[in-house]
């Protein structure tokens, strides 16, 4: 779908993180709010090293109580089992009927290592190398069942066609997996992989494996340059750069009324902060900023992290989103039902089925 400017519609996402929240309702409230705004997806962060519930569990709990929005938990790959990780993400896709994503993350601290007692802490570069391998084996395991593997053929007594189930025989630097998965191929084929490329060490994993990459930028020109760089790198890895959505990560503080609290800041750029670029102002000026970046062709959309979750997400959905819809830059309803459809991304071809169909 394209807009009057000829550019694709914006993709918008929001974080639903809330400190000290262990029961389901507050997460459900925020996700429903984001869904009311027709956002592409919500993210929920996670780490073994700080208080909080398991993010994938929270978004599974939220899934049956929502209908369309994509659900992206952070899933760490350092002290976890790749086989378990891929099974859980695939299952999130089953329980949400095609709305799952995941944001691979590493655990680089000694504190996190001590919680498991299995390995010492390792440098981030090494851990991201491993995370890339986990992303790789995950797609293989998701493909280890071809879509039509389950045949239920009463005549021959066969429930599955085992020619369509595949050992993946993956050998990585720190782990190996035989396969196939215990979970049949999920509804989206591959749940959506979101990589936080604002971290230097994650950049290459983003270019290689991400469907959605999150980037930091202070203004449209910088954003456009980062996006071009990621697309170039993706192409070097043999990927179609148009199959990568680049979203600007933006913290938002919408406590400042209709217009920017900081003069000149509305249509301008965000402020640098320790936690990444921060927009402080009103929902109307935020819409101006988004529209300006879109016009400049800088990014495919935005990932917002509200500073005050309930307040800022409400203002985003009730203020900024309708303005963007009015300008024809953002959808007014979900035309599709899966997360991939929201992103305009094709359902991936099964790598094993493709091989089997290859006559050579």
């Amino acid at each position: 779908m394209t807009t009057s400017t000829g550019r694709g519609l914006l993709h918008l996402a929001a974080a639903v993180d809330q400190p000290d929240t262990y029961d389901a309702d507050p997460y459900l409230t925020l996700t429903r709010l984001a869904e009311r705004g027709a956002l592409d997806f919500v993210t929920l962060g996670d780490s073994f090293g700080r208080p909080g519930p398991d993010a994938l569990a929270v978004l599974s709990r939220v899934a049956p109580a929502t209908a369309r929005i994509g659900l992206v938990p952070t899933v760490t790959t350092t002290h976890t089992e790749p086989f378990h990780v891929q099974a859980a993400v695939a299952t999130l896709d089953w329980v949400s009927r095609g709305r799952a994503g995941w944001r691979p993350e590493v655990s680089a601290t000694e504190e996190e290592a001590r919680l498991f007692g299995r390995r010492a802490a390792a440098p981030a570069a090494e851990l991201w190398g491993e995370a890339g391998e986990v992303a790789d084996v995950a797609t293989r395991l998701w493909d280890s069942w071809e879509d039509d593997a389950e045949i239920r053929d009463v005549a021959t007594g066969r429930f599955v066609d085992r020619e369509k189930l595949h050992h993946v025989d993956f050998q990585g630097a720190t782990f190996s997996v035989r396969g196939p998965s215990i979970v049949p191929r999920p509804p989206q084929g591959h749940p959506v992989t979101v990589v936080d490329a604002t971290q230097q060490h994650a950049y290459d994993v983003a270019a290689r494996h991400a469907d959605v990459a999150l980037v930091n930028a202070a203004g449209p020109a910088q954003a456009a340059a980062v996006r071009a760089g990621l697309r170039r790198r993706a192409a070097e890895h043999g990927r179609d750069p148009d199959a990568l959505r680049v979203l600007a990560a933006l913290r938002i503080d919408l406590g400042g009324g209709e217009h920017a609290a900081v003069p000149g800041h509305g249509g301008g750029g965000p402020l640098p902060s320790d936690l990444g670029p921060l927009y402080r102002g009103g929902p109307v000026d935020l819409a101006d900023l988004v529209a300006a970046w879109h016009r400049a062709g800088a990014v495919d959309g935005f990932h917002f992290t509200p500073v005050e979750p309930r307040r800022d997400l409400e203002r985003l959905v009730n203020g900024t989103v309708p303005l963007l819809q009015h300008r024809g830059l953002f959808r007014t309803f979900y035309p599709g039902s899966t997360f991939r459809e929201h992103l305009g991304l094709a359902r991936p071809v099964n790598q094993y089925a493709a091989l089997a169909g290859d006559p050579s």
Partner: protein, 452 residues
């Protein structure tokens, strides 16, 4: 054993009658689950899980149970293709089911060999929080090199070590669940033992029912000892009256040395129920289900699992092979052994000769056992008798159909149990512990932070 059709009168509840506990097992990945029946639906779509869980909650069951398998079974080096295969990851499904149920307990089987205590304790604590105190963990120990090939560590634990790791695993999880202060602040933990040496801060406060309920499934003396020392529920295979009573007495007898009483551990065999309007009709339906469970192809496969050789040239409706099994051929993987193949083969041949049974009929006779067959009245009376005579505290019902396999039971048998006064007519509590009549675990005293 089967029920007679005698109509036992519902009786008023006597003061000493035990209440029956019921749980629902989602149909498994094996030939017990019939997929050829036209009523059989997806084993993977969320709608199937939702239907069975809602049925169980309508029946006021204690909990909904999911088994685990971490590698697809193989036969002759290839993925086994005759049974239902493929399932979603349990904890993720249960978190989703927490959204569509209100009171039902949610039990996941999670292996203590291919997981780590910190992550597992955290995942169960999360489920307990998100479900308002309804989580349970079935701690299994199975570990074979075959399954291990999917994990970082490979197959690495001897049989002797499995329960020592499982026991330390559960004890460690409980240390983590107890680690926050009563005021809701993280408090450092440190555990040093044979299998785990870990320290830090747990990420969640104590959960709404204190700890998730711990279930044990496994039958060796080590398994029973582990259950007696650490479990809240045992999931057993002993579903006959005599075997149930013996198991019950044995396990409950082990509790005292751990300072526990008979009420602290519920014994729940996995059982099947086949209903009919008459006893004869129920028997006929039961026989039909057994034939569906053991297809001609399945009969040969089961035989190959015992004989350890390819028997594909045999006629399933013909006689058993007169050759002896090849022991340790490794023909079949990911499945539990039925005992010494030479002995099993001899028994099966003797049975086949004595009764004039074909291969398929012999396999049906020896491998399918149905627990309760009869009219709803007869089955209700028999379930009650099992519980009142200490053969069980309740049952984990294993239906053969996905997802409608418990509809009849809930509609027809549950009301009769209620009339007998041995089954709840409404949930009286909100947590799984309260359904099971289990005490909330005592938080161990700690020097710091507990200055009351």
């Amino acid at each position: 054993m089967t029920s007679t059709d005698e109509q036992r009168k519902p009786r008023g509840r006597r003061p000493l009658d035990k209440h029956i506990h019921l749980a629902a097992h989602f149909p498994g990945v094996n030939n017990t689950t019939v997929w050829t029946d036209p009523r059989s639906r997806s084993q993977i779509d969320f709608a199937s899980f939702e239907h069975l869980a809602r049925t169980a909650e309508r029946g006021l069951f204690d909990f909904f149970f999911l088994a685990e398998g971490l590698r697809l079974r193989e036969h002759k080096g290839r993925v086994h293709d005759l049974d239902v295969v493929g399932r979603p990851e349990s904890l993720t499904v249960l978190n989703a089911l927490a959204a569509v149920t209100e009171r039902l307990g949610l039990a996941a089987t999670v292996n203590a060999t291919f997981n780590e205590p910190y992550e597992t304790a955290r995942r169960f604590a999360t489920l307990d929080h998100l479900s308002g105190g309804r989580a349970a963990w079935n701690v299994v120990t199975s570990s074979d090199a075959f399954t291990g090939e999917n994990f970082r560590r490979g197959g690495y634990l001897d049989r002797a070590d499995r329960y020592t790791r499982a026991a330390e695993f559960v004890a460690t999880a409980r240390e983590l669940w107890d680690s926050w202060t009563p005021e809701g602040q993280p408090h450092p933990f440190a555990h040093t033992g044979r299998h785990f040496d870990i320290e830090g801060e747990f990420t969640l406060p104590r959960s709404p029912q204190g700890h998730p309920v711990v279930i044990q499934a496994g039958d060796s003396p080590e398994g029973r000892e582990f259950a007696a020392s650490a479990a809240d529920v045992i999931f057993t295979r002993h579903g006959t009256l005599e075997a149930g009573r013996a198991f019950y007495a044995d396990v409950k007898g082990r509790l005292a040395k751990y300072g526990r009483t008979a009420e602290d551990l519920k014994i729940m065999p996995g059982v099947t129920v086949v209903l009919g309007d008459t006893a004869a009709e129920a028997q006929e339906r039961a026989a039909g289900i057994r034939r569906q469970q053991v297809s001609p192809q399945n009969a040969l496969l089961t035989l190959e699992q015992v004989w350890g050789v390819d028997l594909s040239s045999y006629d399933p409706d013909g006689p058993l092979p007169d050759i002896d099994p090849v022991v340790g051929s490794g023909l079949s993987q990911g499945r539990t052994q039925r005992g010494d193949p030479l002995v099993v083969a001899e028994q099966w041949r003797a049975l086949s000769r004595a009764k004039g049974l074909s291969i398929r009929q012999t396999v049906i006779e020896t491998t399918t056992r149905q627990s309760f067959i009869g009219t709803p009245q007869a089955v209700a009376a028999e379930l009650d008798e099992f519980v009142q005579s200490d053969a069980a505290d309740g049952f984990i019902l294993v239906p053969h159909l996905t997802p409608g396999g418990l509809d009849e039971f809930v509609d027809q048998v549950v009301p009769l149990l209620q009339e007998r006064g041995v089954y709840r007519t409404e949930y009286t509590g909100t947590t799984l512990r309260s359904h099971l009549g289990l005490k909330e675990p005592v938080r161990p005293a700690r020097e710091e932070g507990l200055t009351a």
